[in-house]
């Protein structure tokens, strides 16, 4: 309804002549005039349309004007509808009209003065129009508020969704200002670096993570300023001092006041790749060893046999025989070395009888010069040969790892203690070979102890792959054995012991197993493809 819309004016009177005269008086207002001959008819009209003003005669048969007004006021829709009573001037009527305290009520006395009636009706009609307009504006306003609220809600949902996504990401997502102060730190960053959000907010990200930049920080800053983004690998440190390598993507925020940063931990990936390269290199070395072995072994046999024939040949005098004996002895050494380093039977498919104490002796021989150099003494106690069924190459790998670690732990000398004995525990079904390897070296930091057998764990930073003990444990478990570790310190000396238990003889368990080296290569290959 706009300003020019007609208002409905309901005229109620039982006398048609009066209705006619009201119509004539009000026609020039330009409103819509509706006639009703009785209170009932009036109510009917009221229900049918929106009426601005009811003009009614007080005295009507059946239901009079006051009764009609009462009925209207009881209905919530008509409580505010304007009413103009027309009555002869009785005092009682005036009093009753004044009794309608609320609502727009007026009266006109008879004889009706046309100007007055027009003026009163016109005021009420106008009032009604204004009210309707106000209501419409209100409704529009409400609708607009509703729409706005809905849009805000949607925005908020979107923001919450994005925040949830940021928290869901395994990457470390960081926002910092241009001075490097942390503004945002997601749970991926908490997980990667070990620092909680509240601990780092407002602090310098570079100081917290001790970030090392490949070409210096100024290079990063320059690229960020020019191109708006920077990609590269960074070296950082976690809260407990672990070095991590991250693939970092930085971008300048649109307003140029902050830098967004996403860091993905690629430490394990790099190490896996490195380990794979090493495994490949070892495999290549193995193939090479095979070829060399063949080329050396053939002439070696011929020379050995020659010396055997020469050794006590009747045509030689004593001195010549002595020389032949020397040559023969040296050849035994050559044969021994090729057998050890180029390993005959190294890739046998079937398990064979292996003596653990012999394997330990072989390893000691290989490490002899290193141990002598570092002033390490060996305390050997072999209660038995420690014979089990297995693959010599794997067992050699296990004990080379353990002895190698022990030797490395004693750069300033010490004692390497090797025990081998058979145990047939009452509670165990099979007899076992127990091997313990102890050193008096630097010991193991208790906080490292629980990670010792995890892959890629190393305390040797550059030198170690962190795979040695993990592979060793895997091999031992394949044999149905166990490896335990203890480190103790008393009277200023550290003693670190690894105890390996291997089942004495259990050929069945090997029926379908693969050599561990291949298995490890497969694991590495798989995890690498996975990365």
């Amino acid at each position: 309804m706009n300003d020019r819309d007609q208002a409905n004016i309901l005229m109620v009177d039982d006398q048609p002549g009066k209705l006619m005269s009201y119509e004539v008086i009000l026609r020039e207002l330009g409103e819509n005039l509706i006639q009703a001959r009785s209170a009932r008819e009036a109510l009917d009209q009221l229900l049918r349309q929106d009426v601005a003003v009811v003009l009614m005669d007080v005295s009507m048969p059946e239901i009079d004007g006051f009764e009609l007004a009462d009925m209207m006021r009881q209905h919530p829709r008509f409580q505010k509808t304007a009413i103009i009573f027309i009555s002869a001037v009785h005092l009682t009527d005036v009093d009753r009209i004044k009794g309608y305290r609320s609502g727009a009520v007026d009266y006109i006395s008879v004889p009706v003065i046309p100007e007055l009636l027009r003026a009163k009706v016109s005021v009420f009609a106008e009032l009604h129009r204004k009210n309707r307009q106000l209501e419409r504006l209100n409704r529009e306003l409400e609708q607009r508020v509703e729409e706005r609220t809905k849009r805000l809600q949607e925005n908020e949902d979107l923001l919450r969704e994005r925040a949830d996504l940021l928290e869901l990401a395994t990457e470390a997502i960081i926002v910092r200002d241009l001075d490097g102060m942390v503004l945002f730190w997601n749970s991926g960053a908490e997980a990667l670096y070990g620092w909680r959000r509240e601990e780092v907010l407002g602090k310098s990200v570079h100081q917290i993570l001790k970030t090392r930049f490949p070409n210096g920080f100024s290079d990063v800053e320059r690229t960020l300023a020019q191109a708006g983004k920077w990609n590269g690998n960074l070296t950082q440190f976690t809260r407990d001092g672990q070095e991590v390598t991250v693939a970092c993507r930085k971008a300048m925020k649109a307003d140029g006041n902050a830098v967004l940063e996403i860091n993905r931990d690629i430490t394990t990936q790099l190490k896996t790749e490195d380990a794979l390269r090493k495994t490949e290199r070892l495999a290549a070395m193995g193939r090479m060893a095979g070829i060399i072995a063949h080329e050396i072994n053939n002439p070696l046999e011929a020379i050995t046999n020659t010396f055997y024939l020469l050794r006590d040949h009747p045509s030689l005098d004593e001195e010549a025989r002595y020389f032949a004996k020397l040559g023969d002895e040296e050849l035994v050494r050559v044969a021994h070395i090729t057998r050890q380093t180029l390993g005959f039977y190294r890739e046998s498919e079937q398990p064979v009888e292996v003596s653990i104490s012999e394997i330990l002796d072989e390893i000691l021989e290989l490490q002899a010069r290193r141990m002598e150099f570092h002033n390490i003494t060996v305390d050997k106690q072999y209660g038995s040969k420690g014979t089990i069924w297995g693959f010599p190459v794997e067992l050699r790998q296990v004990f080379l790892n353990l002895i190698g670690n022990a030797v490395q732990a004693m750069p300033n000398g010490g004692t390497l203690r090797l025990h081998v004995f058979n145990s047939s525990w009452r509670y165990r079904q099979h007899p076992e070979v127990c091997v313990s390897i102890c050193d008096t070296g630097t010991g193991v930091d208790p906080k490292h102890a629980k990670h010792l057998f995890e892959p890629f764990f190393t305390t040797k930073s550059v030198k170690g792959t962190g795979l040695g003990l993990w592979i060793s444990k895997g091999i031992i478990q394949k044999y149905g054995g166990t490896i335990r570790f203890r480190s103790a310190s008393f009277t200023g000396r550290n003693i670190t012991c690894f105890k390996v238990r291997l089942p004495d003889a259990n050929i069945q368990s090997f029926a379908n197993s693969k050599p561990a080296a291949r298995e490890v290569a497969e694991i590495l290959g798989a995890s690498n493809a996975h990365q």
Binding site: A289, G290, A293, H294, I296, N297, N298, L300, E301, A302, T304, N305, T306, Y308, L309, V332, A335, T338, R339, L342, G343, F344, Y345, R346, E347, S348, E349
Partner: protein
Amino acid sequence: MPISDITILCVDDEETPRTLRKLILQKQGYQVVTASSGMEALEVLKQTNVNLVLSDQMMPGMTGSQLTQSVKTMWPAMPVVLISGVNEIPKDASCADKFISKIGGPELLFDIVAQVLKDYGILAELDHKTR
């Protein structure tokens, strides 16, 4: 059977190692005949009374284990010892009675040969001398 009555067929495609192996076995007291290939070895076996075959594994044409299979088919009671300079034991080598490394030295070779002969009842315990 005394050791001097036992004949060993020594097979190797290379002449020097074959001859040296023959000489050390002769020094030990055995009779030795030789062949330079698997095919030749089978010919010798048809014509000569041999008690044990000692063959190199890696030979052109017929390998030691292929020769072993042929020998065992034609003379199931013939002991065969394979000798090799390679790292790996070939998968089909299990048909031989023993598979040994070339670099074990003469004493190991004598021990293995004597052991196999004894297993076949060819060499009596008393006749076995290691040197």
